[in-house]
Structure formats: structure tokens, C-alpha cells
């Protein structure tokens, strides 16, 4: 049995979580998921400004802080902290923690190969819209292939203390140590599916151990010291989800079911680079307090393609707000919205979208929100987006004047004009997997 703990569900998750996982009980592998789709484009921009950047900058100081404990307790770290510059990340880790052995997985970054792919006849059509990538070729900021667990296992096979990858899948971070330890083969589909589902359960950190849980949420104990999740994995593919004893939060079939359903598509076809997992095969049981046993998982062969994660610029947007108070708060906010739209139209400005929400009435849940006909206060929230930056900028000047020249009782303008932000959009496409050759490099 090996214990694999997730200490970071995204870049920006609780800084103390990985430290507490190491301090509060036994684990064998600490996995940290830093990359969201949008993160890669931010990192690419940072790398263009400074060739030594482009990775998750929280990671090296964390490893520096933990280095002695990792070595003393034989805990090994697997993280996709490398972003678009895993080599620079590894060098920063070695600077913060000299003496650790670091392995880097290369080969996911295909930013420089897009034209090569186009020349070979790959159209890289968007998986949602079906459009060929040539329509946005000049706007591309980053392009990475999602890589699976086997390159991570190969990196662990070198004996490295820390494995740094770029765009590995979130689930591979958990499956990788299992493939390494249990010597699973590429056609052990059921086991690979089990490890993938274990990864899915813990990839969002505490979201399976009491965080964001609807069931009995007010009585979940000691969320201030919420225990991040641990998978106790067996060689046969079965596993138990738990957390360190004495920590807060809750691990129960309710919390695990919620996370299993999170960001799920077709449950019979959860596609990864390693296998296709079947979520309808999962059997859960509450084997003890804060312990959920997971068995029965089946899967099928990995697909012949890998998914590319591509980011590109797609215009500009700005979102501004004003607050209206009782009486008739909603009526005043609606009137102000009409005035802004009329003034923009009179200026001859057009946008791809103007979108208005009434915060306190229907902003989150639209028509599905319970009716609230006379709220004591309403925040008017208007957003615009389009390709013309000047038009978006002009919009940002149209809200504050309403304080004096619109409906009565407007406030909440203290932050001034809203900022204009460039939109970085996301494009996903499929590429034959033979095009991606990963390589492991040991740096020490």
C-alpha cells in the first residue's frame, strides 16, 4: 500500500495544506496540481518577459521549506509546477533545496511546433466549435499536450525526490506514483482507470474532504484545519480515500460522490492519455469514520490521440459596477442599465456582447434564483466585450457619471473606472499521440 496525498488543487490553493500533509501524519507521495487552462498563457507571457520564469513560483520556496522533512521521511513530490519552463523551475528548486534529486519531464510544450503540425496537414480543429486553428493562428499564446502518468512514473523510476512536469493531466499526478510503485502496464486498463479515478477524487484538494460540500455543511468539524485528501492505494487497483486523523473536514461517501461528479462529462468515457475510465463501475463504501473504500473500477484502452491545450488572445473586456439602495433599488438599477446602453449606442459603439446582472437579485443563478422583488440594495454589474479596445475603454467611462446624472441613490464607485482586460481564450484540439515524445531529465 502507498499513501498519495494532494496538497494543492490549483495554483493559489491554501499554502499551508502541503506543509500540514507532511507534518500531520504518514504519506509516501505528495502531489501538487498547479495548472489550470488559463495558467499556461499567463506563464507563457511571463517567460517571454523573463526567460527564467514561466513556472509556478510558489513551488520552489515550498520545497525549500519542506526539504529536510521530505528527505527524513522519504516523501517524494510530483507536481505539474513546471508550466512552460520546467527546467527553470527545477533550477529554482535546487537553489532552494540543494541536495535533492530533481527529475524533469519534457515534451508537452508544442508552442514552437504549431506551424509544423499545420504543414503536416493537422487542422487542430476546436473540439467545441469544429473550426480549424488557422482562424486564430496569429493569436496563439501557448500550446501544450496533456501528458499522462507513464512519463511521471519513468521520472520516479530514476529515484528522484521531486518530479516536475509541465502540462501533465491532473489525474496523472496521482496515477504516476501507482504506475511507478506497482509496475502497472499500459494495457492494465482497469487498474489505470482506478488510479485515474483516485486522482480525480483528490485533484481538487479539500473539495473531496469537506470543502464546498452541501451535505450537513454547517456541522462539518474544524474546517479551519481541514485535512487535505490522501489515497491509500493497493496494487490491485482498489483504494481508500482518507485524511490524517485529528484534522478537520470530513471524508464520507457524500463528499466523495460530490467530487466524483465535479466537472464530469460522459461518465462511461472519462478520457485521459492513459485509459478511458468508466465512472459507472465505481463502488463506494464508508468503511470507517473518514474512510471511503473504492472498488470495482473498470476502464478501456487509451485513445490514439492526445488533447492539446491552446490559449489565444480574443479581444478585450471590462466589467463595471454601481450600487443602488432601497427604495426601488432594482428599478433604479434597471433604469441605469438602460441609460448606459442608450449612451453607448448614441456614441455608435458596438460590442460582441453587453451583459447585465443585478447582484442581489439574479446575478449567480439567473431565472433559477428565487424571486426577490424588493431587495434593500442591488449592485448593477455591466460587462462588455469586443475586439476594439477603444470601445471597451470608452464603456468604462460611462458608469461613474450616473452617480450625478442618473437615477437617485447610486454609490459604491470607490474603486473608480473598471480596468480593461485582454481576453485569453482557450482552444482544445486532438493530435495523434505519436507526435508527442516525452523525455525525462535528471538534474542535481
Amino acid at each position: 500500500m502507498i499513501r498519495i496525498a494532494n496538497g494543492q488543487g490549483f495554483w493559489g490553493d491554501w499554502l499551508e495544506a502541503p506543509v500540514r500533509l507532511v507534518d500531520q501524519g504518514p504519506i509516501d507521495f505528495l502531489v501538487l496540481d498547479y495548472l489550470a487552462e488559463i495558467t499556461m498563457s499567463i506563464l507563457q507571457k511571463q517567460k517571454e518577459e523573463d526567460p527564467n520564469l514561466g513556472y509556478a513560483r510558489d513551488f520552489p520556496p515550498l520545497i525549500g521549506r519542506l526539504a529536510h522533512k521530505l528527505r527524513d521521511r522519504g516523501i517524494r513530490v510530483v507536481a505539474n509546477a513546471g508550466g512552460v519552463n520546467p527546467t527553470a523551475c527545477a533550477q529554482a528548486v535546487l537553489k532552494a533545496a540543494p541536495g535533492l534529486k530533481v527529475a524533469v519531464v519534457h515534451g508537452d510544450d508544442v508552442y514552437s511546433r504549431i506551424d509544423d503540425f499545420l504543414a503536416k496537414g493537422y487542422e487542430l480543429r476546436d473540439m467545441d466549435t469544429g473550426e480549424p486553428i488557422s482562424t486564430i493562428r496569429k493569436q496563439i499564446l501557448s500550446a501544450n499536450a496533456y501528458i499522462g502518468a507513464f512519463p511521471l512514473a519513468e521520472a520516479l523510476d530514476t529515484g528522484a525526490d521531486v518530479v516536475i512536469a509541465g502540462r501533465s493531466t491532473d489525474t496523472a499526478l496521482t496515477l504516476g506514483p501507482m504506475v511507478h510503485k506497482f509496475k502497472w502496464k499500459p494495457d492494465d486498463w482497469d487498474k489505470l482507470a482506478a488510479g485515474t479515478i483516485a486522482g480525480h477524487i483528490i485533484e481538487c484538494g479539500a473539495q473531496c474532504s469537506g470543502g464546498n460540500c452541501q451535505v450537513d455543511w454547517a456541522n462539518i468539524p474544524d474546517m479551519a484545519d481541514v485535512g487535505y485528501p490522501i489515497v491509500e492505494a493497493e496494487a490491485d487497483g482498489s483504494f481508500t480515500v482518507t485524511k490524517h486523523s485529528g484534522t478537520g473536514g470530513r471524508v464520507h461517501s457524500d463528499t466523495v460522490k460530490e467530487q466524483l461528479l465535479y466537472e464530469l462529462g460522459d461518465p462511461r468515457r472519462y478520457i485521459t492519455p492513459d485509459c478511458i475510465a468508466d465512472f459507472t463501475s465505481i463502488q463506494l463504501s464508508d468503511s470507517a469514520p473518514d474512510r471511503v473504500r473504492v472498488t470495482g473500477i473498470t476502464g478501456g484502452p487509451r485513445p490514439p490521440t492526445l488533447k492539446l491545450s491552446i490559449s489565444y488572445t480574443n479581444g478585450w473586456k471590462a466589467i463595471g459596477t454601481l450600487v443602488y439602495s432601497w427604495p426601488q433599488a432594482l428599478g433604479k438599477a434597471r433604469a441605469a442599465d438602460s441609460i448606459v446602453r442608450a449612451r453607448l449606442a448614441a456614441l455608435g459603439l458596438s460590442y460582441e456582447e453587453i451583459y447585465t446582472e443585478f447582484f442581489g437579485v439574479n446575478a449567480c443563478q439567473g431565472a433559477a434564483a428565487p424571486p426577490n422583488p424588493d431587495p434593500p440594495e442591488v449592485q448593477l454589474r455591466i460587462g462588455v466585450r469586443g475586439q476594439d479596445r477603444k470601445a471597451v475603454d470608452r464603456f468604462t467611462r460611462e458608469l461613474i457619471p450616473l452617480v450625478l446624472n442618473g437615477p437617485p441613490g447610486a454609490t459604491g464607485f470607490g474603486d473608480g473606472r473598471p480596468p480593461v482586460r485582454e481576453i485569453v481564450a482557450y482552444w482544445s484540439a486532438l493530435l495523434p499521440r505519436e507526435e508527442i515524445n516525452t523525455r525525462v531529465e535528471v538534474i542535481s
Binding site: 452541501q214 460522490k257 460530490e258 459507472t280 456582447e353 451583459y355 449567480c364 443563478q365 431565472a367 466585450r385
Partner: protein, 104 residues
Amino acid sequence: MIVPLGRIAHTRSGDKGDMCNIGVIAFKPEHYPVILRAVTPARVKEFFGDLVRGRVERFELPNLGAINLLLHESLGGGGTVSLHVDAQGKTYGAALLGLEIEVD
């Protein structure tokens, strides 16, 4: 008897691009058939009104007593493009708890 869905089920929602998914999980096994009967794609689309511009798909996970709903074109373009305050559909699952359903 008419009750809100939240009486017999809990939910979690999230995003995939411009699509929101909502997992609906029965508290007890005997509630699962009620969910299958009452939480249909047509009713879900109607419940969210203008918010869901595309179709609603439904998948069944009887092993978990759960269904998975996919609400296409429901996040204002999704992710970074969206102008919605809830661009990830994090609150859509909670909203669905208010869906009125008939139980015995």
C-alpha cells in the same frame, strides 16, 4: 406532495468551457427513481431559462444514485471570455435544489 429537489438530493456543479455540469446525487437509494422521473433535461432547461442557450444532456450513474447534467452554452462563453459573475457555474447546482418535484 411537491417538495424542492434539495429535500432528496445534493448537487455539485462546475464548468467545461461554455458548458456547466451539475451532478445530482440522491440522499437515499429510494430517491434515485424519483430523480430520474422528475429531473429531465426539458425541465432543467426550462428551470434555468435564458441562462441555458444550448441543449441539456443527462447521463445516469445508478452505482452512485446520481445523474450528471450537461448544460450546453450556459456560461456566457465560458472561462475567461464570460462576463458572468459565475462564469464557472459554481452556483448552478445549488440553484437546482429549488426545482419543485413530486414525491409520494
